[in-house]
Symmetry: C2
Subunit: 231 residues, 2 copies
Amino acid sequence: MSFTPPQKPAEYAESELLNAILDGTFPINSSLPSERDLADQLGVTRPTLREALQRLARDGWLDIQQGKSTRVRDYWQEGSLATLSALAASPHHQSPDFVAYLLEIRLLLAPTYTRQALEAASSQIAAFLKGADLRSGEPAAFAAFDWELHHKLTGYARNPIFQLLLNGFEELYAQMGRTYFSFEECRSESQKFYRRLLECAESCDLDRAENLLRQTMRGSLDLWLRLGGQA
Amino acid sequence: MSFTPPQKPAEYAESELLNAILDGTFPINSSLPSERDLADQLGVTRPTLREALQRLARDGWLDIQQGKSTRVRDYWQEGSLATLSALAASPHHQSPDFVAYLLEIRLLLAPTYTRQALEAASSQIAAFLKGADLRSGEPAAFAAFDWELHHKLTGYARNPIFQLLLNGFEELYAQMGRTYFSFEECRSESQKFYRRLLECAESCDLDRAENLLRQTMRGSLDLWLRLGGQA
DNA sequence: TATGATTAACATGTCAGACCTCTTACCACT
DNA sequence: AGTGGTAAGAGGTCTGACATGTTAATCATA
């Protein structure tokens, strides 16, 4: 049994605003009420509200300019990876298949960063893979392990942009991972993949690793497209 | 003749802090001074400082927890695309070749999003390319056009993640674009590319477009690796 | 001596209220 | 029609007080 702390006023304000943006109360390109009114409505003080607004603006949801009403940005066009997970989780958007889209991006990037990672640190990656403990069969454990693996791979890659980029997917990855790994077939396919990747890491076979990633990431996508309808 | 407005206190505080992080005054994993001290040192008030801190935290630079000193995060490992352009522009980091890294990522992503874009909107893309006016030969004009092209392509792509992802590169793209297009050879190669892409858009040849992007993006990377030493 | 409880110091989080600066619409004057 | 001034409404910042969370030190008890 665990308890969650009550939401702090700034957190509360931020999530209320975000919900209001996503549910269409404040649609794209609309103006928010004045900070004074909004703070009043939300039951927080203006400085507290402003902290929340600054955070939302930095993520790409809002455009704040002195002397003008704060505007809701077109978060599909002007958004960032920071807006992505909120969009993916929102019940107010006829959800595009975010799992498939994420897998598609991963298919494009993972072979290259894996190659670079093995080039730099194959024994460390092998050690990590050897330490894998997925006997519980819990989807959450698979999702966490998979994330950790890709995070490590991008961290070892020569191009630092891979990791910065992957970090932007952390929340979405966690959400989507639990869905994806809820299927037994997805879990067992992943276990095969980890074993094969371990072999590549131990033998330092870069070409084989790259191809393995390409096949496996494509396989994941195909598998999801087949199973996705049942989610 | 144009004037730039004076920096507002919150902006000033934010950029001073960011500089202090990047120049090692506040290194990774160090604690910042207390908000009260920091506000004093910076000559702004605490609420103002807090706004700046919230923004920096949301970008991935800081970890703020009530009751504990604010910590500088490992922005290489825990950072985001929002930290990327600051890192690329920082004189304090023995600069990895960010242009090459950016071009490498683009090589991986652009063929797919271009294909998807042409699938969805080839006449609009053709119209955009026809409207290209790069006669001035200015590097800035090339950089702006190239950005706009890729932004449009990602906007038309089926997978919305492409555009959200590209948005994270906007600042870096602008910085790097001016460097890349300062070379005449890069400019003329790009013009050729735009003409060929126009042909693909007009004939709706998806395979050819995808291959063109792959070759061109690889060509850009190779060209940069050759010329980059001279930058 | 070891452990648990309490307290104090220091940190961030929030509140209330006042004033400052920017934007925009409207009006008056040339 | 163009320009300048004013007022209203918006966001930006300041001052100062209080609330809540963390952690180390101290005290009490077994």
